[in-house]
Amino acid sequence: MTTSIKIPAPLRKLTGNQAVVETEAETLIDLISDLDKKYPGIKERIYDGKEIRRFINVFVNGEDVRFKDGIKTKITKGSEVSIVPAIAGG
């Protein structure tokens, strides 16, 4: 079973317009590296080398990874990961 990742509109140019892609990575940081192998350039857009970028929220099964273990958050098989722009609401 793989994990599905929801890609927001601003990143879909990199994923060939796919709104959902798959991964088998087991932590968030591995997931980001795996994405970058398949879709070069995506890593630097969401990750600043230390943390998820300021204006991006990443959710694993609906929970913000900042409430979990950040980039070390474990991804279990069948999880749903969403990458969502932070500038919304209010």
């Binding site: 857009r45 991006i56 929220n57 969502v84 919304a88 609401g89 209010g90």
Partner: protein, 410 residues
């Protein structure tokens, strides 16, 4: 020539067309409206503004729409009241209340929604939508009804009754999400990605947010064309503070007012204070939290403009403070008893923080201070239902009355 030149990323400066987009494709920074200021400067003046409508649209030149046929219910140009009683109590000689509780749907959100819906229709949308903590819900539903377009309104299911009824009356598609505002917001980001709707605080946000500038414009105009010395503003997403600051700076840049030396102080409830916490820890990272407060309109645990509000307070020498639930209720009562204004819980937060800042000397007694009251108390009656005067029940006779009030002299 159009007054909107395009959208521009606030972080990296990349430019985009003025469409329904809101984040920079490269750095995910917020897109902001870029104006042709030279053109605006050539014809804007105090005199021209003064002859405009008694609504926020007197500042049409600085709002991000091209049409003159704006969708307006008369929002804005609300009273700026000298708060002599409250000022005396707090030891502030020049305290004013900007009372935005008297807008068409009783909160400041009518300002941003009027701009957003006008722009949305201008861009060809036939459906308006939002993620809301309540006040925005009422406003989007009302303006959607008035404009005759479909409205989808998403709220946390546990909102105050006044806000649910105050939205439902306009018959929008009202969706109560089982979760807090941050979860509603995340859901809406995904829905906005899937449906061709004008989400006022998502894909229309660059335009929507500009409506809040008018609070800054109005205060400056109502003070006789000058910026106040100190302002106290409630913080939810942080957008309101950021835009009031922008409004004052724009007025200065266009020569309508002198230098802006205003200190911006922010108010949050103790149960949801990610921005104040960042301020106090002197950290530019606003860490998300899970809200637990009676001030539901401020219950945003992951504030979109938190960083910019933080920056505004630091840059201007303002302060950040919190109040707990009891102090919020005290704040609501204090404003009502001294100035005759019944505000909602967010206003209680603002007044409570105003009081703290005054008592600790962080607001100086001779500073011209404006506290922004952004919503109406009739919408959050639950918060104060135990704290108000109850009717004294009497028989319909003079005798019964005089017996109840023996101390009144005839």
């Amino acid at each position: 020539m159009k007054k909107i030149s395009g959208l521009k990323c606030r972080e990296c400066g990349r430019k985009y067309q003025a469409k329904a987009i809101y984040v920079c494709e490269f750095c995910f920074g917020p897109l902001e409206v870029d104006y042709n200021y030279e053109q605006i400067k050539a014809h804007i003046s105090q005199e021209k503004i003064k002859t405009g409508p008694n609504s926020e649209w007197r500042y049409w030149d600085l709002l991000p729409v091209e049409t003159k046929s704006v969708i307006s219910l008369g929002e804005g140009f609300t009273p700026l009241l000298p708060a002599r009683n409250l000022g005396k109590l707090l030891g502030l000689e020049k305290l004013y209340i900007k009372n935005d509780a008297v807008n068409p749907t009783y909160s400041f959100k009518d300002r941003v929604v009027s701009v957003a819906i006008t722009r949305a229709v201008e861009l060809g949308f036939d459906t308006i939508a939002c993620a809301s903590t309540g006040n925005l819900a009422c406003s989007v539903a009302a303006y959607g009804a008035y404009a005759g377009i479909k409205a989808f309104v998403f709220i946390p299911i546990d909102l105050e009754k006044g806000k649910i009824i105050g939205t439902g009356i306009y018959q929008p598609n009202l969706i109560g999400v089982e979760g807090n505002y941050d979860q509603v917001n995340r859901l809406c980001s995904e829905i906005a990605d899937s449906f061709p709707w004008a989400f006022v605080n998502i894909n229309i946000r660059p335009y929507y947010a500009e409506g809040s500038k008018t609070l800054g414009f109005e205060v400056a105009e109502q003070l006789g064309w000058k910026a106040p010395d100190h302002v106290v503003i409630p913080l939810a997403s942080g957008c309101l503070m950021t835009k009031i600051y922008k409004g004052l700076k724009e007025f200065n840049m266009l020569g309508l007012i002198g230098k802006v030396r205003t200190k911006f102080s922010g108010a949050q409830p103790e149960g949801c204070s990610p921005i104040v916490t960042a301020y106090k820890e002197n950290s530019e990272i606003v860490k998300p939290i899970k809200p637990n407060t009676i001030a539901k309109s401020l219950a945003i645990g992951n504030p979109a403009d938190g960083y910019y509000a933080w920056k505004t307070m630091k840059e201007t020498g303002g302060f950040a403070e919190t109040v707990n639930d009891e102090e919020i209720i005290e704040g609501i009562k204090l404003l009502a008893e001294t100035e005759g204004i019944f505000t909602e819980t967010a206003g209680g937060v603002t007044v409570g923080v105003l009081k703290k800042l005054a008592q600790t000397g962080r607001i100086k007694k001779d500073e011209l201070t404006v506290a922004f009251i952004t919503g109406n108390g009739l919408k959050t009656q639950e918060a104060v239902s135990e704290a108000v005067s109850r009717p004294k029940k009497i028989a319909p006779t003079l005798k019964a009355f005089t017996e109840e009030f023996p101390w009144i002299k005839r």
